[in-house]
Amino acid sequence: MSHNNNAGAGPSLGAGLPGAPISLGRKPRPVESAIKAALFVSAMLSVAITIGILVALVEPVIHFFAEVPVGDFFSFDEGTRYAVFPLITATMVTTVIALVVAVPLGLGAAMYLSEYASRRARKYLKPTVELLAGVPSVVYGFFAVMFVTPTLLQDVLGLGVGFTNALAAGLVLGVMIIPTIASLAEDAFSAVPQSLRQGSFAMGANRMQTTLRVVLPAALSGVAAAIVLGLSRAVGETMIVTLAAGSQRNLSLNPLEGMQTMTGFMATTAGGENPVGSTSYNTLFAVGLTLFAITFVINMISIALVRRYRQAY
């Protein structure tokens, strides 16, 4: 290491360190390195969890297909014990109903929060809407069974629905995902640059026109991401559909009927305490893997959409 070599007649180097040699060499910092490694491992754990999910799901599924013909699983026949398509269609029915409820309401709430509410009002209104996401799904399920079906659907609307039906489950599911959609859509609306709104107002547009014709189209990919994420939540939600949609394997698109969704199947089957390794235990994993695959694809779409709107500005 070179030192200062008569760099001038002035006082010695380093104002506060008279005569101290300047050493810039790298010092070993074992604690620092160890901590960094530990933090890295913690972060990698999330990847391990994903791999874990896959391995944990795939292994029993291999055993499952050793016992059950693939055709029986991928079957539309609701009479076949292991048919998955009746479960998937049931999930689709409840999810579509949920989206019909949650998309307009969620986007409406998001528009109000981002385009109409004052900063102060938003500070209180947003957590209020998000409270809806805090209600446990078993509570929503109970509410669907105790109130929505008997009081709302049967008494008030006079629908000929049974005790369990996809409609009540879908409606309540929709309420549950409102905050998911509202929150992400509000982010997307807020990310639209102020200059676009100013441009619109300066043209003589009113707030509604600005919101619907400028902000909404500009935020479209973010809005799409919000809807897709809501969709993913609805597909994966368990307790509401277990309680309210019923446990009848039913290949039907009629929302007034009871039908068993993928998650509903898993919850009821697990409730039956199946011993490790039995075929019905493995079914759980076969359906679980299907569910994971479906939501995984949906989530990736949502992530890609979010990335797009983040990049747009």
């Binding site: 014990r81 019923g246 446990s247 039956g272 305490e273």
Partner: protein, 295 residues
């Protein structure tokens, strides 16, 4: 299985530890009542009672995962084999009699079914979807079926002993659950609904259900404690059991205490849980089986 507490055998009835009970949802209320009554005397004995259904209960029981298995039918051959393979020896104790009840929505204008009609209604080939198809005098009302899951002894009993089809299965266009409460809710909430489960569930929910009388050739017989005990309610009267693991009874003081208490107070427990108690003869049989276990 349950593991004995550290202070096992601490004198008196101070046994402690955990007991795992699973199996029939029909018997579950009774086993729960037993545990609840026991806990008032000895809170250190910790009993968990599951309701996986008779079949589901035997599956875990024969793997040694539970101490006691509740059953609404006798153990079947393949289950015997499974227990042998799992090295689980057991003792069968009858704890109550059941009048398997066929219940309908309270507004349905049907009061009695013949055994043949039962078969026609629940059998695997059944295409009956309207009550009037079963009998022209019945109302023109669509049928919804709520029946126990395939892991349940009640399902097995109806399939094997009543419908008695070769496949030992029932029709599949039904709503099914291992949880009898779900069936009760379904039937009471759906017009034209019919289903079946243990008598207890009917008795607890008399207000919202209607039980059908069954005509087995000798006129319509209502399900009740008397008709079941007298053997008049056929073919739906059946015995209810608990299966106790011999090893657990010997090694786990908590199991022993629970089973002893169960049998000793059988009538009290049955009444508290709204079950049909055993006749004196049957009770004596159970007591002697317990003695065999203790020795």
């Amino acid at each position: 299985g349950g593991d004995a507490g550290a202070d096992a055998g601490d004198g008196g009835s101070g046994a402690s530890g955990t007991v795992a009970v699973d199996g029939s949802s029909t018997v579950e209320p009774m086993s729960k009542a037993a545990s609840e009554l026991l806990s008032e005397e000895n809170p250190d004995v910790r009993v968990t009672v599951g309701a996986a259904g008779t079949g589901g209960g035997f599956e875990v029981f024969c793997q040694g995962q539970t101490d006691i298995s509740d059953a609404s039918r006798p153990i079947e051959e393949d289950e015997v084999a499974a227990c042998e393979e799992g090295g689980v020896e057991y003792t069968e104790l009858q704890v109550a009699t059941d009048a398997l009840t066929v219940a309908v929505h309270p507004d349905l204008a049907v009061d009695c079914l013949t055994t043949e009609q039962l078969v026609e209604l629940f059998g695997p080939q059944s295409k009956v979807t309207n009550w009037s198809e079963l009998d022209p005098s019945f109302p023109d009302q669509e049928i919804s079926l709520f029946i126990p899951g395939t892991d349940s002894g009640t399902y097995d009993y109806m399939a094997a002993d009543v419908v008695a089809d070769e496949s030992e299965e029932l029709r599949k266009d039904v709503e099914s659950s291992e949880d009898d409460n779900v069936l009760v809710q379904g039937i009471s909430g759906t017009e034209g609904a019919v289903g079946f489960f243990g008598y207890t569930y009917y008795e607890e929910n008399q207000d919202s259900l209607k039980a059908l009388a069954i005509d087995d050739g000798n006129g319509c017989v209502e399900p009740s404690a008397e008709t079941a005990q007298a053997g008049e309610y056929t073919p739906l009267s059946r015995p209810l059991f608990i299966y106790v693991s011999n090893a657990s009874y010997a090694d786990n003081p908590a199991t022993q205490e629970y089973v002893d208490f169960y049998v000793e107070n059988l009538e009290t427990i049955a009444e508290a849980a709204k079950f049909i108690p055993l006749s004196e003869d049957l009770y004596a049989e159970t007591q002697s089986a317990l003695e065999g276990l203790s020795s």
